[in-house]
């Protein structure tokens, strides 16, 4: 790539590839575009088989010339997957099976009749398809990071270029000074989306101002928070945005080498990113003398190997260096002394994904979104007891209620909302009373939760909060790097206390000890993992103390989750079919045929087989 003009020309040529998706039927060589979501969720639900089925049926109907089948990144609404969208109509098909490909081909692509019974609920009114951004799930969203996810084929650089891809890099390299770029980023107010929320512009500035013969740009794609998958989706759906952003960062701070550290558990993302890197090199957008300037930039992928702590930046750098992913105390900060001791900019995937648009649209465009102190948008992974499980992007400042009930569709099966957990193992549980709090970095931290990477898990009345706290703590105990004592031993001791609580062998004084220990781990641990590991316990202790007390004082789990505190009873509705007696592995059930049976709670091992076998719902667990 030599000049801005060359890029513009390429963009004009490429636009015809995507015009149809923007409703422009005139300037498109094709009649239909079939976009098949190939994010990990949909691939797990056979999206690749669906793609093959479309190719097969299109060939049957001689439509291979007229219809483009494109694989895209995630549409966000994973609950409805596998998802297929047909343009120009924008027909949003959900829960598509390989068999449905035939119907969609025949009815829609050949005959022009939308298959209404396959459309996503709420995506049509009668026979009329409503625009995607009017669908309730998308209505309150503002997609910046995810703008192109689900719109372009990530394996085709031309589709990215058609949407102004690499224009920001051209602008940066050809028209802006490094300082001007950093000023722009600083002014936008963007803060790191990976957890800490530190100013991205200032990070870059530190690195720019540090003299060194070599500097590095590192992208943190070690998304370890269980239940968060925005970084993966961006890498799968819009990998070029990351490449472009890293190159811009490289130009701004004076680095010529970048590394993208991706979880080994993300094969699709890794593969697409590699394809994108190769294409960018072919187009001269990576490599030597980019846009005929003297700026060189190269990128390599490095795979993680299953260690949550590598999301911590110094641990991640150690891992790239080929060591155990154990964090170092800071300072020195990576911006000054990072990879192999050289100044290193390290940002996460979502942060980088915003950069090209900030350069193109200006700092003000970005800072106009969101709240004071938390500009822009944030991607959240909605999961748990919520109707629309999936990935959403909303402006900062939106309330939890809007996210959970408007975008997320509320709690399924008529259950009652109990809590929402944000920030994963570093975060905390918020309750009903917090639902109207505007979401931003500072509010969440103030409430004892955390933005974290953006996992948002909704819980209903069936979830035991002590059990949830235990779940997160088990995670951190397992994932603690083992370096510092407060985290290594302390989290384990907290877990032991929680185990005693959920098994009814604790005492009230231990609740105070738990809290004291948790507070000390927070202030004493070496890295962010340990400093935030007690949050799930502290926030549940604060917001759901009565649940803890019920476990300790009354030996009861109010939600009926903690096994050791439960007992199995047979109700009078038992008809004495003896099925449970026959399946009980420890012969704890006695009773005559056709008479109400009885469970000896002392013998019962609570394996739940009887409940599963009973056809009359006659067994109660309480």
């Amino acid at each position: 790539m030599k000049s801005l003009q060359e890029l513009e020309n390429l963009k004009l040529q490429s636009q015809k590839l995507v015009n149809l998706r923007l409703g422009d039927r005139q300037n498109s060589p094709h009649k239909h575009h079939v976009l098949i979501c190939q994010g990990t969720g949909c691939v797990s639900a056979k999206a690749t088989v669906i793609e093959e089925a479309f190719h097969e049926h299109l060939a049957k109907h001689n439509l291979t010339e007229d219809v483009v089948v494109a694989r895209t990144g995630c549409f966000g609404i994973c609950e409805a997957g596998p998802v297929v969208i047909v343009y120009p109509e924008g027909a949003f098909y959900s829960h598509v099976t390989p068999e449905d490909a035939e119907r969609i081909t025949k009815n829609h692509l050949v005959e022009g009749n939308v298959v209404t019974d396959l459309l996503l609920e709420g995506s049509s009114v009668g026979d009329k398809i409503i625009p995607i951004n009017e669908i309730p799930f998308y209505k309150k969203q503002k997609r910046v990071s995810l703008a192109l996810c689900g719109l372009i084929n990530p394996e085709n650089i031309l589709e990215y270029i058609a949407f102004d891809g690499y224009k920001a890099l051209a602008k940066a390299v050809l028209e802006m000074s490094p300082k001007a770029i950093i000023d722009e980023i600083k002014e936008s107010g963007i803060r790191g989306r990976g957890g800490g929320g530190f100013s991205t512009g200032r990070k870059w500035e530190f690195t720019m101002n540090t003299q060194a013969d070599q500097k590095y740009i590192v992208c943190n794609g070690d998304e370890g928070d269980p239940g968060a998958f925005m970084d993966r989706s961006i890498l799968e759906g819009d990998p070029h945005a990351i490449i472009e952003a890293m190159a811009i960062a490289g130009y701004a701070v004076g680095a010529n080498q970048g590394y993208v550290y991706v979880r080994a558990e993300y094969p699709i993302a890794t593969n697409r990113l590699q394809i994108a890197i190769d294409q960018a090199k072919d187009f001269g957008l990576l490599g030597k003398n980019i846009f005929e300037s003297d700026f060189n930039f190269d990128l390599e992928i490095r795979l993680g190997a299953g260690a949550f702590v590598c999301g911590e930046e110094t641990a991640l750098l150690n891992s790239i260096e080929g060591q155990r992913g154990m964090p170092n105390p800071r300072p020195p900060y990576p911006a000054v002394e990072g990879l192999w001791g050289k100044p290193t900019v390290i940002n996460n995937v979502e942060t980088f994904s915003n950069i090209p648009q900030i350069i193109l649209n200006g700092a003000k465009w970005f800072s106009d979104m969101g709240t004071e102190g938390s500009n822009g948008t944030k991607v959240f992974a909605l999961g748990g007891k919520i109707k629309n499980t999936g990935l959403i992007e909303v402006p900062m400042g939106i309330t939890l209620r809007e996210v959970i009930f408007d975008v997320g569709g509320g709690i399924p099966n008529g259950k009652k909302f109990k809590a929402v957990q944000t920030g994963g193992p570093s975060g905390g549980c918020l309750t009903e009373e917090h639902l109207d709090t505007p979401i931003d970095f500072d509010n969440l931290t103030r409430l004892g939760a955390m933005m974290g990477s953006g996992g948002m898990i909704v819980m209903d009345e069936d979830n035991c909060m002590v059990d949830i706290a235990k779940f997160f703590l088990e995670f951190t105990v397992d994932e603690s790097c083992g370096k510092c004592a407060p985290c290594r031993v302390g989290t384990k001791k907290m877990l032991n206390i929680l185990n005693r609580i959920t098994s009814g062998t604790s005492e009230m004084a231990e609740l105070d000890r738990l809290e004291e220990l948790a507070k000390n781990i927070k202030i004493s641990s070496l890295c962010g993992l340990g400093q935030t590991a007690p949050n799930p316990v502290l926030s549940t202790l604060k917001n759901f103390r009565e649940e803890y007390e019920a476990h300790v004082k009354d030996n009861k789990c109010p939600s009926g989750v903690c096994k050791d505190l439960l007992n199995y009873f047979i109700l009078d509705t038992c008809i004495g079919c003896t099925l449970c007696t026959r399946h009980c592995p420890v012969n704890a059930i006695t009773g005559e045929k056709k008479e109400v049976h009885h469970i000896d709670t002392k013998t019962c091992i609570k394996c739940n087989v009887c409940v599963e076998k009973c056809k009359f719902n006659a067994i109660e667990v309480r």
């Binding site: 105990v477 302390g490 004493s524 641990s525």
Partner: protein
Amino acid sequence: MRGKTAMKTVNLTIDDLPVQVDENMTVLEAALQVGIDIPTLCFLKGVCEVGDCRICVVEVDGFDNLKSACVFPVSEGMVVKTHTKKVRLSRKSTMELILATHSKECLTCCRSTNCELQTLAEELGITELYYSDESPEEVTYDDKSNSIIRDQSKCILCARCAHVCSKTQGTGILGFVGRGVKTRVTTAFDKSLADTPCLFCGQCVVSCPVGAISEKVDIDKVWDVLEDPDIHVVVQTAPAVRSALGEEFGLPFGTNVQGKMVAALKRLGFNKVYDTSFGADLTIMEEGHELLDRLNNDGVLPMITSCSPGWVRYCEHYYPEFIPNLSSCKSPHQMVGAVLKSYYAEKNNIDPAKIFVVSVMPCTSKKDEAARPELSVNGLQDVDCVITTRELAKMIRIGRIDFDMLEDAEFDRDLLGEYTGAGISFGATGGVMEASLRTVADIMESKELRDIDYTQVRGMSDIKEATLVLGGRIFRVAVVHGTAAAGRLLDLIKSGVTTYDFIEVMGCSGGCVAGGGQPHVTAKEKMKLDIREARANVLREVDNSKDYRKSHQNPQVQKLYTDYLGKPNSQKAHELLHTHYTAKEKFPLE
């Protein structure tokens, strides 16, 4: 950032005291300057500066969480608080957690009353162990090697051992393994140290704050022979022992306790007490002539010293290509053993099989060395038992000898009783080189030189070089200590960047004075004082005070040659005083 020439100072406040210090200092160092004692545990100056244990935490204005003083750099205007309630509670809580995973067998521990953890627990006011009821994880106990015992039940994961092993020794035998609560410091696949390319240098032992790594104690063997009237027990003490033994009895660092030491040994009942420095003089004679032979007859150069057994093992396992460069000389105490069981036995008409040679060494690797089958003559090991300086102190205590009250005594003067200032210099880095030069230079220049202080090879920088002109020939020497530095030097030689005629290598940093068998010194004391220097000065003073300061002037060494060996490197000398080496696998599988 670091290493800039002009030193800048910054002003900060620690516990309301204004402090002005060098900008490259840590909070811990700055606090020390104004007498504020921040407790540490994993910190060991120059070895382990990582901030892992979280005991040295302090409050720094502007941060919610506490910072490790040992690694936190000072900055202008910084405000530090080192003993607020928040800090005290945190230290105590962390200490309780560390103790939860630590064996509580303090009464029977080898480090009882000498344990940094025990001291710290008291200093932090630990009065109950809340978490001690929970069963500990599975642990390893390894006593297979001749030198070192590892007891994982006492390990607190400070990783000082692992850092010294990889950084100073360049071996990396010990390291972090596993993750989270299952993290341990151990060897690859939990192999016994005996089955690894460990040098047995014992630097891990003297770095360990607790009893997780210790020397194998052999004093019972010594007690037994001392009680046996049929056995003639001869003890020899290495130069470095006298420079540190006093520390075990509360004397200041750098006190020479030679006289009391000899008195104590006599009181313990040894038949003869000799100084290994005699063996050092003998080594110079043999090694010096070997060097001259190599120089004159196109032998393999550079020649490298072989008196440090840790270094010899390093060479055999890690740089076997340099085995031909190793001097074939046995180490001094092995020479003494060989001479005792031949010349001495003959002269005194004692059956060599009835002679039991005990070496008191500052070294744990010497234990393993003495067991090498090739270090024997006529089926008798040169040295029968090696005990460390620490073990000698233990014997003195068990023997209920009041060390302070002892009147100074002299080494036995017969046969092996003489030693020179050159011989005693072996105990510190550069000493072997300086001793060699004093003899070799005289021979090459064919005269008795008067200027014999080779100060270029003294001091504590890890690689020291000197170029001399001797007998019209340019003569290049290097001195290196700590095997990691030795490895770096050998790499330079291999790549052809540099070359030498003669190299002294000591396995431990500082040489034998800082060997793995020397008394334990707490991290706090090591931070205040370079104990290597303090102990080395003792030897330097002895050297300066001696009439004979060149090995070839030692009259009893001269007599040994005339009466028994003939001349240096003679057939007889070779049989008794030289050995050979074997290349060994870097990572032995079984």
